[in-house]
Every structure is written in structure tokens, then in C-alpha cells.
């Protein structure tokens, strides 16, 4: 007889009366089934870890701040070369408004892509 077959799926051998007594003690000490616990677990499913969410949010905000200082230079250069109505419109709106619009479009895109309920805290 190998160890594996000897021990396989045998929580207790039942030959020792103390086994049953000990099992009864553990059963008596076991917590009662708690429906609220089940609800809490289901409520926690799909919610990202708060620390992770804050870290991602912080990284995103830092990235946005850095990009915000650079995009104006990047965009205003080529746009200043535009002539006609488009160029005038760009000049009228200004690079700040363009960047704001660009970020608004990006935010809408993310909101559309992220599954419903995924960011619930």
C-alpha cells in the first residue's frame, strides 16, 4: 500500500472515538452560514483594489499633466501652418481648447470601452 492510497481522501479513520469527539468540537465551533457574507463577496467581485485604482488614477493624472504641457507645443506648430477656414478656426479656438477637447474625446472613449460597473467602488 502506498502512502497516497493509505491517506487518500480520509479526513479521519473513525477507529478512535476521540476523532468523532474532536470533529464534533470543530463542528460546534464552526461559524454559521451567513448570507450577508455571501452578499459582501459578490459585491466585492469585479471591484478593483482601491490602492490599485488610486495608483492608476495618480499615474494617469501625472501623465495627463505632463502631456498637457507638451501637447500645446506639438499641436500648435503644425496647426499654425494651416491656411483657410480650418486654420482660422484653430487660431480662434486656441491650443488650450483643442487639448481640452482632445482629452474630452479620450475620456468619452475610455468611458465607452470600460465595461459597465467595472469601476464601481
Amino acid at each position: 500500500m502506498t502512502d497516497e492510497t493509505h491517506f487518500a481522501d480520509e479526513p479521519m479513520d473513525g477507529s478512535d472515538p476521540f476523532d468523532a469527539e474532536l470533529q464534533a468540537m470543530f463542528d460546534a465551533a464552526a461559524p454559521a452560514e451567513d448570507p450577508i457574507f455571501t452578499q459582501d463577496v459578490v459585491g466585492a467581485l469585479g471591484k478593483p483594489d482601491r490602492t490599485r485604482l488610486l495608483a492608476l488614477g495618480g499615474a494617469g493624472a501625472t501623465g495627463s499633466a505632463v502631456a498637457g504641457t507638451q501637447i500645446e507645443t506639438i499641436i500648435s506648430g503644425p496647426l499654425s501652418q494651416l491656411n483657410g477656414v480650418a486654420g482660422q478656426a484653430v487660431g480662434f479656438i486656441g491650443p488650450e481648447a483643442l487639448v481640452t477637447g482632445l482629452f474630452a474625446v479620450m475620456a468619452l472613449g475610455i468611458a465607452w470601452l470600460v465595461p459597465k460597473g467595472r469601476l464601481a467602488i
Partner: protein, 180 residues
């Protein structure tokens, strides 16, 4: 007829069915929470780790091979989560020493409170590995081979720990009875 664990697991694996997972949580929460309560001896901490265990199980359900029982798989995750929590807290060893001297019953579940205190006090006299093995087999309802898989200890070692632990517990309760 209530669906089997395998059917519920298949539903969760197929589409992340939260209702099916909720049924699995309801079915196995007592074993997982019972195991953790005997390991932590702290009701709130055990429930927190149990919740983390089930969330982790939901996220990693695709890795459940189906070869062993789902309960044993959950208990293995619970034990891993317990170890991670103990490492994070750092003071776990000190707390254990304190609890060995005077275990505090913080459970609010039903049952005779005195018996629970006695059981926790008796368990505190065991060595760490003995206690883990005994708790897995009796509170978690795991077989020796499942406990071996969960702890990473050789099967023979688990069997020895359980037998030695059981003998110590028996002696502790006999001594207590004589003193009473």
C-alpha cells in the same frame, strides 16, 4: 435539484456568472471561514481573509483543474491568503505567542462559547505545522492528501502532524477534565 459544484463552476468559467458563484460561496463559506477562524482566532480578520479568498477564487477560477474537490481548492487559496496576511502584519508571531498564553474568542457565531475557547486554547498548545494540519483536516474537512497539497508538506509529514496533534489535544482535554 440543486446544481452540482461542477455545474456551477462551469457557469462561472463560461461567463463569470455571479449568481452561480454566489451559490458556491454559500455552499463553501462555512468550511473556509471555519478554517480561517481556527487559524486566525479572530472573527473579523478571518472574515476579511475569507472574502479575499473567494474574490481570488473568482478571478482565478480558470486555473481550477477539477481534479480535486472545489472545497479543497478554496481551502488552499485560503491558507495562502492567511500566510500572506500574516507576513503583511509582521506581528503575527508575537500575536500568536500572546494568543497561546491567553486565546481570545472573538467569534460571534452560534454554539457553546466555552467549548470554542477550550478548542482554541487546546489548539494553541500545538506546534504551528501541527495546528495547521489538524485545522485543515477537521475544520476544513480536507483529506490528508489535500492538506499535503495545500501546505506543501509531504503526505507522511501531514499524517504525523495530524496524529501527533490529535494525541496532544486528547491529552489536553483529559487533563482539563481531571482538573475540573
Amino acid at each position: 435539484m440543486a446544481p452540482s459544484d461542477a455545474e456551477l463552476i462551469a457557469l462561472v468559467m463560461a461567463g463569470g456568472d455571479q449568481r452561480a458563484f454566489s451559490a458556491l460561496v454559500g455552499r463553501h463559506q462555512q468550511a473556509v471561514r471555519g478554517l480561517l477562524m481556527r487559524l486566525c482566532r479572530n472573527h473579523a480578520l478571518a472574515n476579511d481573509i475569507a472574502q479575499d479568498t473567494f474574490v481570488k477564487a473568482f478571478e482565478k477560477i480558470a486555473s481550477y483543474s477539477g481534479t480535486g474537490s472545489f472545497k479543497a481548492w478554496l481551502c488552499k487559496i485560503a491558507y495562502t491568503q492567511f500566510l500572506m496576511s500574516a507576513r503583511k502584519r509582521k506581528a503575527a508571531d508575537k500575536a500568536l505567542e500572546r494568543l497561546q498564553a491567553e486565546p481570545v474568542e472573538t467569534s460571534t457565531s452560534t454554539g457553546a462559547p466555552g467549548a470554542k475557547v477550550d478548542l482554541d486554547r487546546a489548539l494553541a498548545t500545538l506546534g504551528e505545522e501541527e495546528r495547521v494540519c489538524v485545522v485543515m483536516c477537521y475544520a476544513g474537512g480536507m483529506s490528508h492528501s489535500e492538506a499535503s497539497d495545500a501546505t506543501g508538506l509531504p503526505l507522511g509529514t501531514v499524517k504525523s502532524h495530524v496524529n501527533r496533534g490529535k494525541a496532544k489535544l486528547k491529552a489536553w482535554f483529559e487533563k482539563k477534565e481531571q482538573a475540573a
